[in-house]
């Protein structure tokens, strides 16, 4: 059975990030037996048992996408989470529509304090639309940092940011040896938070992003007490191994939704990915001024 060739995105439509053409075709080849089975089922039907490796990869992919989204929505740089372990889940592949994944996974704190071994638990439903980024995500996580503590830490971070000298003379964070100075940690956490939005938007069932390095930061003075800063991150995409520079502009205040604007550079192709988010992932909302 012929694997389907993915249709190219129409010019002007939102591109779906770096195009891993060869791995994509390869993965479609792997999907062939699955495709054949799923075609005879209705989209809602779980379908035939699928290759275990493929299931595992999709569950991991979904868990990561869900976490990027969760971190962005939580908008709390002191409560960032990373994936600990995928516990269970199921993926349904519909060749016409995309990929639906239910997944349960454990998380740990991005910035664990001494002696902290907390594992949070999340469950998510992720829908990867065919050839389109910005997977639709519904995710809930158990709380593992007490709300008051989180608010205090966010506020402390906010204060640290406000006290930083401008212009910030920073080469890169971490430095080339993986070191992050304690005084620069708040910048890194906030940058990670903003990057979570970008990585969520760019993640597909095939592409997976990591934050490699922060290469420039500029903080702007504001009239309204918000943290307003511009920075460049280098994202690492695993399947193509590409390093993607993205300019990100974020506005944050503790307890308020995050505002992010970004522009990523596609190194290989002339297409570029960019996006804007005004605080809500579901529908654009007007943010009141605080």
């Amino acid at each position: 059975m012929q694997p389907r060739r993915p249709p190219l995105p129409a010019p002007g439509s939102r591109p779906w990030g770096p195009r891993p053409a060869a791995p994509l075709i390869a993965l479609l080849l792997l999907l062939s037996p699955v495709v054949a089975a799923a075609e005879s089922e209705s989209p809602q039907d779980p379908g035939q048992p699928q290759d275990a490796g493929l299931q595992r990869r999709l569950l991991q992919q979904a868990a990561r996408a869900a976490l990027h989204f969760f971190n962005f929505r939580a908008a709390s740089p002191s409560a960032l989470r990373v994936l600990a372990q995928v516990q269970n889940g199921r993926a349904w592949i519909n060749p016409k529509e995309g990929c639906k994944v239910d997944v349960v996974f454990s998380t740990e704190r991005y910035n664990p304090e001494e002696g902290e071994g907390h594992l949070g638990k999340c469950s998510a439903r992720v829908f990867f639309k065919n050839q389109k980024p910005r997977p639709a995500i519904n995710v809930t996580c158990t709380r593992f940092i007490e709300k008051k503590k989180r608010q205090q830490e966010d506020y402390l971070l906010y204060k640290q940011m406000k006290q930083l000298q401008n212009p910030l003379e920073i080469d890169s964070i971490p430095d080339n040896h993986g070191h992050i100075d304690a005084s620069l940690r708040p910048i890194w956490d906030l940058a990670f938070l903003g990057s979570s939005y970008v990585m969520w938007e760019m993640t597909t069932q095939f592409s997976r992003y990591y934050l490699a390095q922060l290469t420039s930061v500029r903080q702007w003075k504001t009239n309204d007490d918000t943290i307003d800063f511009d920075y460049t991150v280098l994202l690492h995409e695993l399947s193509t191994q590409e390093i993607i520079p993205c300019r990100i502009h974020l506005v944050w205040y503790p307890g308020k939704p995050l505002k992010v604007k970004y522009h990523c550079q596609e190194l290989q192709t002339p297409e570029e990915a960019s996006g804007t988010e005004e605080g809500s992932a579901v529908a654009p909302t007007e943010l009141s001024n605080f």
Partner: protein, 388 residues
Amino acid sequence: MRWILFIGALIGSSICSREKFFGDQVFRINVRNGDEISKLSQLVNSNNLKLNVWKSPSTFNRPVDVLVPSVSLQPVKSFLASQGLEYEVTIENLQIYHEMDNIASDFPDLASRVKIGHSFENRPMYVLKFSTEEGVQRPAIWLNAGIHSREWISQATAIWTARKIASDYQRDPAITSILEKMDIFLLPVANPDGYVYTQTQNRLWRKTRSLNPGSPCVGTDPNRNWNASFAGMGASDNPCSEVYHGTYANSEVEVKSVVDFIQKHGNFKCFIDLHSYSQLLMYPYGYTAKKASDAEELDKLARRAAKALASVSGTEYQVGPTCTTVYPASGSSIDWAYDNGIKFAFTFELRDTGTYGFLLPANQIIPTAEETWLGLKTIMEHVRDNLY
């Protein structure tokens, strides 16, 4: 003198463990008179800067070569400038080669440094050969590292492992019995041009530095350049891609050097390639989803190795064939090795799983090397007991 202040600043700042070898430079300093020689001697003798004289002056007007560790670069430069001493930076980071030389001279009956070729930019390619019997082409193990230059934990783990092999011989029964039966060849920097580039220009450079005619983009992915389904799926024909396979198989002199050496030797039984990151232990194939004929044995062995690795610090590795564990990849080193009769072919993707990625902090080097060592030993012991 001003330089006393510089040393004071150094004492105050934290100096990382000397297990990290990157960023060191060799300064060639022109000394013109006795006064300058004595100033330089004072600088060199100050313990805190940890300078290492490679070539002392015998007369004036001959240069002194001094190895300056990266943490001391700034104070030394400032000192030289303040004293009006002329200098040039000669070779970027020779520290790994220097350490290889040290190991060979510290353990002359076991270890020797062998040149197997050179890179595109004409840097030497050195392997360390560990052998307890000369003159015989024993069954051998190849440990490959640093083929992707930005994966610094790979080169670091390799050079740590080199010293570990040498110092544990005749102390640890496992490595002793392995070396009584087999030779070990260790290539810590399989991509020297890329490695220098990551230290001087772009920390995240992956490929070689060979030029691509007709393209502004430099470099080929050396782990897509081997003759195993070359230019198949999981590689790119675009020179600007990070997984560009090159113009033809073994087009990269760095790859060809290894291939020629291994083929000429003719008795390799095991090939292990160290990469980062993701914490995976994989076996062939990358170029196809079809199972390798020895997949079951390799899978069992890999699981035991991953378990041994985890026993040190709890670091969890996933195990499986390359294609379905990470992604399809054609032209890879271990696929070539396997298809050329080297049954025990494995890729390690070392720490971590994305938190720091390529920029793994220096304080994780030794823990990573120590746990990886147990994984490597598990594999090597099995090879020793299952020679074919």
